[in-house]
């Protein structure tokens, strides 16, 4: 057989390509570490600094896990901020509804319903995108308004809802709780984030679902012809995205004890930015959860540094935006050089 001879015609070296890819991730990590070091120099206590950074990053990171699935499959989800807001509202309303029940029943019940709502809103996107074949950008742009609208209706016009006082302590634990393994402070959001990340890594790396998510993003038509149920896979990524939003909604609601339909506007952009800066392309088929973690920590460290030094919020947005565009432009530049 002459396949050997054929192979010699393709001189491209993938080892080199991989090295370049790695180089980009490493440079982002390095940048993060440098910024983190600068920030730590001013910090009063290093464990506290870490605690703050991680607790800030964790809820965003949870949504970013779902978003990574969506984007590897070649999709896009603008509605995560709205889903999170609706879920927050649902959580508070449920707690109010269950005010007569003992906290240890009411809170898991409310949390369960919230996650269910997230898992039901996700497939609305999923069905429109996968089965009706509407562009994901258009679908989630519309549902971004629709879901927020639902939140407004639920709160009769957008008033802030507070959870019943008697649940404050136990529900607040979801955000404010800490454990101290080996004397390191770990907040509840971080623990939840690690758990979600572990589940998502399992799904994406080891399962058939995860394998087909990559396949679908690589070439949906070819995957379909290979017998893969591309539509179900696409829809499933939005379900995962919805669930991760609900989990984060619980954490953020626990932070303030209140929820409002207008919460978390613009958060979807930070989530998407984490995924992109990490290196998962908009075109799908490539990327990974750990890349997103890297992207997330770069953005979180910048935020931390700027907040800590009391930089005017206007400049914060400007600087964050500039860093995102620089990273993405560098990536594009590396790729051009590679060719």
């Amino acid at each position: 057989m002459t396949a050997t001879a054929v192979e010699s015609i393709s001189p491209k070296s993938s080892a080199r390509a991989k090295r370049f890819r790695g180089l980009q991730q490493i440079s982002i990590l390095l940048l993060t570490l440098i910024l983190a070091a600068i920030s730590m120099l001013h910090a009063r206590s290093i464990p506290n600094w870490f605690d703050n950074l991680l607790t800030y990053a964790a809820p965003i990171g949870i949504i970013a896990c779902g978003m990574t699935f969506v984007m590897i499959a070649g999709g896009f989800d603008l509605s995560v901020g709205s889903i999170t807001a609706v879920c927050g509202v649902v959580a508070v309303l449920m707690l109010k509804l269950f005010v007569g029940l003992p906290p240890w029943i009411a809170i898991p019940l409310a949390a369960g319903i919230t996650v269910l709502v997230g898992a039901l809103l996700g497939p609305i996107n999923g069905i429109l995108i996968a089965y009706v074949d509407v562009n994901p950008f258009v679908v989630t742009l519309s549902t971004m308004f629709v879901f927020r609208g639902i939140g407004l209706v639920l709160t009769s016009g957008g008033q802030s809802e507070s959870i019943p006082k008697r649940f404050n302590d136990l529900f607040g634990f979801i955000y404010w709780g800490h454990i101290h393994p080996f004397g390191i402070p770990l907040s509840m959001p971080v623990i939840i984030y690690i758990a979600i990340l572990a589940i998502c890594l399992y799904l994406l790396r080891l399962t058939r679902l995860g394998h087909y998510v990559y396949a679908t993003g690589g070439n949906a038509k070819a995957s379909w012809l290979a017998g893969i149920n591309v539509r179900a896979i696409t829809a499933a990524t939005y379900v995962i995205s919805g669930i991760t939003c609900a989990v984060t909604a619980l954490i953020w609601t626990a932070l303030s004890g209140t929820a409002q339909a207008s919460d978390y506007q613009g958060r979807e952009m930070i989530v998407i930015a984490s995924v992109i800066v990490g290196g998962t392309p908009l075109s799908g088929g490539r990327g990974g959860l750990l890349l997103t973690v890297v992207g997330l920590f770069l953005l979180a460290t910048i935020e931390q540094l700027l907040t800590q030094d009391g930089v005017n919020p206007h400049y914060r947005q400007l600087i964050t935006g500039l860093i995102i565009v620089t990273v993405v432009a560098l990536d594009a530049w590396f790729k051009r050089r590679k060719q």
Binding site: M1, T2, A3, T4, A5, V6, E7, I9, S10, K12, S14, A17, Y202, L203, L206, T207, R208, L209, H211, Y214, A215, G217, G218, N219, K221, A222, S223, W224, L225, A226, G227, I228, G285, R286, Q339
Partner: protein, 491 residues
Amino acid sequence: MTAITKMFSGVPALQDVDLEVRPGEVHALIGENGAGKSTLMGVLAGRFSDYRGEISFAGESVRIDHPRRALAMGIAVIYQELSVLPNLTVAENILLGQEPAGPMPGTIDAAAIRSQAQRVLDYLQFDLPIDEPVDQLSAASQVMVEIARAIHRNAKLLVFDEPTASLGNKEVDALFAVISDLKRRGLGVIYISHRLAELPRICDRVTVLRDGRKAATCQMADCRLSDLTQLMLGRDLADVFPQRRHQTGSVILEVRDVMSPSGREISFDLHAGEILGIAGMVGSGRTEIVRAIFGADHASGTVALEGKRIASRSPGKCQRLGIYMVPEDRKRDGNITGRSILENITASVLPKFSTAGGFLRRSEQRRFAIKMIDRMRVNPPAPEREIQLLSGGNQQKVIVGRVLAGKPRVLIFDEPTQGIDVGTKAQIYRLIVDLAEQGCGIILISSEFVEITELADRILVLRDGQLIAELPGHDADEEKLYSLCLAEAAA
């Protein structure tokens, strides 16, 4: 398959077509673009759930309404546009959709994927790197991956839809060796191709489609290629290649030390009224060199048009000066997908129809487009039709029309007849010759060397990015070009 009919929005693409393939047979399926070959194979692959007619497979009557059904029965189609997943490895592509389950719930067994893929490759005696992402492989190796996938799925019938369209000659030889091997193993093969000359090498029987109907089925050994051409066209194609006067003028384009990213410096002259053929295998640097001349890729060296050096070349600048290119990859570099024939055909010459304020004079643009559609005989002659809805040959006519709209002085044709039918080919040859006779300088690249030997006044041969020979056109035949292009033969 008996009496297969398939309609697209009321228009029949196939009418009462019969096709029969035996185990261990290679059955060729030929026809002009739009004759229904791909549609027929689409039916077989389960892409359409609304066809009419009977299909029987291995003695059983079946209805194939989903790709999964076709796959389960053992029918595998290897498409013209490859359906491998570029981001997955060779092993993952071979096992795609058939991944063995791992120990944990929902998981797949990565080690088993590799070992099963290796077993299939060993069985076929393919030497492919199983852990390499597929986008790192050559086009031919990607076809091998698809074949391996089909074999792993226990395919009994393999359909090749123009597998050689993007392959060089050496790669075609390798593919044919594989197909003969599959045949020996008792598989049925349906082989679709536009390159009629390659059919006798591997095919046993041939079925000709014309306008969605079966024109004939015959033994390959019994029919001559000219008969097939006639069956495909429904008329006699007396001269595919037009006669021409060889009359070349002064130097129109000087290329000096132009170096593409992957090749060596190349210098040559092009004369007015000359057709300069560039022969070389895929990967020889032939496309890279013309892209470099055209300024589509960054490159060193200088290009001068009628003695004037063109500083900082770009496609826009070259076209303003009168250098135009018909690119190799129509889908990627040619079509403005989603826009009409009208917009595509006038895309390079919009300033012609613009007022001083930058407004378009629509009616003038339209009149011009209709004239060009008529001249190129684009079918259907519907200016509003989106370009991607046309057949490959008609898309190419639109692209060539766009180039002609700009009053070219130098024209570069990179594989102008790839994947198009004989009728359109003849039309494009005629056009190239006409342009040369009007004094254009023409650079022609083709994998079908007969085009170069028949049309070119002078031939440059490229190998591994180097210019290795220059021949006068009348002195070259296909054999000679092949041996020059293939390193082994020259050594």
